[in-house]
Symmetry: C2
Subunit: 453 residues, 2 copies
């Protein structure tokens, strides 16, 4: 073994600031717009949803923002997270490439999501908020927020898409272990939910409906706010601790990435790893190819348009300029639930539009094939979302085998798959298929997007 | 924060030898006996089951045994494992005690089991063995062996108790992800299995039946051996890396345990953590109380007898002198499946008999209450087995609150509960009960134990 398998940082070496890429972009990102006036949204427009400190971060131009000490103390439960050199995968692939992966599955919830759940809850607590509401699909985000609320003594109410609530009871149990209250959505708790249940008492729900329920409860109840797990600037900001740690870890072994790949759903995992490396690229300190990997079933960057759209299906949120397939687009029920979002973080969309990062789409069966190769060599069973990044890393490593290049590849393993084993079962049984996404489906969804110059 | 949350070792600091407590015991442990002759079993008696190197370890008097380099390389995927200072649990309990926990859930399979699965597979591979068979209940051990077999290219066949195979499909999927072949037991693969299925095509199976099937397949097929995940000396030997690391980690922060508690099922997790500390105690370097914690539903040490008994229900194994409730004892279906074994590792039984360690039994509802306190403060959702150790640690910490003593408590968090969330669901729904274990049930099972002086 010529090099360590795990490159660790002690908690005394943990970064103490988040990085805000807005400060370093050659062109400022387009602002969010008020849905009624189409004028740039103000802090007040967000005031019923988020605490003041998070709204300030959402709009901040500061390059670095200090991580509060209380947040660092909770981060220490699992951070700094390990960076692995994938010696055993490299051997399996017989590649001259060096593969590194930053592993976020060591968090209590098993993914990168607690990196933002913890500060979001803390800032709310500082402003006297007593309860947070949110939505969740498969449950990664909901469980992370429940964990964070348990840390700071806030109540947590979660609307989980009814189909997931029924099909995947274990994530719900995990939320309850941390003290969260989980409702299947649509629920009897909101007027909107009741109206849908009146039409169909067995309504399967959707993320858009769940967002509407969570948002309406936050708006209606004093002392209650709403929390979102991806897409927004402050969420990506909190996730940059991933990339800041990875920079330190790569430096420890003298490695510089030639290629960086991350999966993109809402964009927070990708932005978290990639933005600190993009800063170094913009400064001329390194020149990696930085690549988004999305599912062919929800190809936001590779087939969507860069224009103003709503963040939710019901059209309650401010308008954001982002790569979108249309807020009414309903992706196929692929197993990477975290990647089934019609839009893409405005900041990721913007750097893609500027040509600073590129993007590819990979079908899920190739991703699960990559996941089995990874699990049998590196041990960890990945969540379905990062299998997209692993598949892209393996494509690069096999290209290196062909060309003889000794490229350094860095990827984000943003979570484990302990609660996603049913999808592995389906793949191994040969029951997983890759569905075509006809262009006219996207065109139809795009027709509902407002026309804003 | 006055002290680190995670006390880490770099992989260059990882111990390179296992510790064999047999070398340091004031009285040698009684030998296993041949089931027919009742004479001490020879290496040949084990030859059809295990490779030569493991039989040598089973009988070794050497104090330290080198860990092979290939095994260390796989250990590096997750070892050294972190030692945590439970700052947040201490605060929740408002105790002056200092609580440390050694966390083994960072392994690919999520528990301490790969610590022995990896060397067992490697030694078999060295002797040209191509396939291993084993049994598993809930699936922790089966998944660990499948993972290890994937690392060294061996086939792995696992007989999983049929009731678990049907009720908990996710562990089976995990075994298959690592390439394992899983049969529900009783199965059509063995004569014994077929005979049971002929009587009852819906037979729920038992661990004893699954052992018989796995053992018979190993004996019948050339190039095939059997692997056991606990109880035996060589298994406890491999687990001592846990305690060796913990000693180094405690020393890093100048901490010495006053109390060490670990849960005991077959005894390998407990022995792994405790034996290196027991060595230090025997040498006079420290004087911790060392305590086994078992479930009241399967009180091997606290209510069983110390005498020769079979390791399996069918009576195929050598006779081992151990604390036993009788090989025909069937514990209640408590949620800590890994603690439902009628016997106790001969080495743990022996040190208990010598008065070097003590033992208590705790009912499962107290354990799950402790687990919720732990999850909501420390984040990690524990497996049902180590909740027993956590409950005992919390009892100690609360006693310190009462007395004002600042004791240092060390415990083993031997696995996470990501695949055991159904038991949390049952506990939180108020459906978990603590059943009385009448003395006459134990007496009845003890009647079947052979009378050996």
């Amino acid at each position: 073994m010529t090099e360590l398998t795990k490159i660790l940082l002690d908690e005394t070496e943990m970064p103490t600031q988040w990085y805000n890429i807005v400060a370093d972009l050659p062109v400022p990102p387009p602002p969010p717009l008020h849905p009624g006036t189409h004028q740039p949204a103000t802090a007040e427009d967000f005031g019923a949803l988020f605490p003041q400190a998070l709204i300030e971060q959402e709009m901040s131009q500061e390059r670095y923002i200090d991580i509060p000490g209380d947040v660092l103390d909770v981060y220490r439960l699992w951070r700094p997270s390990p960076l692995f050199r994938a010696h055993r995968l490299e051997k399996l692939l017989d590649t001259p490439a060096k593969i590194y992966y930053k592993y976020e599955g060591v968090s209590p919830a098993g993914s990168h999501k607690p990196n933002t759940a913890v500060p979001q809850v803390w800032y709310n607590a500082q402003e006297g908020i007593l309860k947070l509401t949110t939505e969740t699909g498969a449950g990664q985000w909901g469980s992370s927020l429940a964990f964070a609320c348990a840390q700071f003594g806030l109540e947590c109410e979660i609307w989980q898409v009814a189909a997931s609530y029924k099909a995947k009871p274990h994530r719900r149990t995990m939320m309850e272990v941390w003290g969260g209250k989980v409702y299947p959505s649509p629920s009897n708790e909101t007027e909107f939910g009741r109206s849908l249940l009146a039409q169909d008492s067995d309504h399967p729900g959707s993320l858009g409906i769940a967002i509407s329920e969570a948002v309406s409860k936050a708006i209606e109840n004093p002392g209650t706010r709403y929390a979102l797990g991806s897409v927004l600037n402050h969420v990506l900001l909190h996730q940059t601790i991933i990339g800041e740690e990875a920079l330190l870890q790569m430096a420890k072994v003298g490695a510089v990435p030639d290629v960086l790949v991350g999966c993109t759903g809402g964009g927070s995992n990708f932005g978290g790893l990639a933005f600190p490396f993009l800063r170094e690229k913009l400064k001329g300190n390194m020149d990696p190819v930085i690549r988004c990997v999305e599912p062919t079933a929800c190809p936001t960057l590779t087939k969507g348009q860069f224009r103003y759209d709503f963040g939710d299906t019901a059209g309650l949120t401010p308008l954001m300029k982002m790569h979108t397939l249309g807020a009414s687009f309903i992706p196929e029920p692929i197993h990477a639930g975290g990647l089934r979002y019609h839009g893409m973080a405005p900041l990721v969309s913007h750097v893609y539009d500027l040509g600073l990062v590129d993007a590819i789409a990979i079908p899920q069966t190739e991703c699960f094939a990559a996941a089995l190769q990874f699990a049998r060599s590196e041990g960890i069973v990945p969540a379905p979302e990062p299998t997209h990044a692993l598949a892209a890393a393996i494509r690069e490593a096999l290209a290196c085998k062909e060309s003889g290049e000794e490229k350094t590849i860095l990827t984000a393993l943003c979570g484990h798959g302990h609660l996603d084993l049913a999808s592995y079962d389906k793949y191994m049984a040969g029951e997983m298929v890759d569905l075509d996404l006809p262009d006219n489906v996207i065109q139809a969804a795009m027709e509902g997007v407002p026309n804003i110059a």
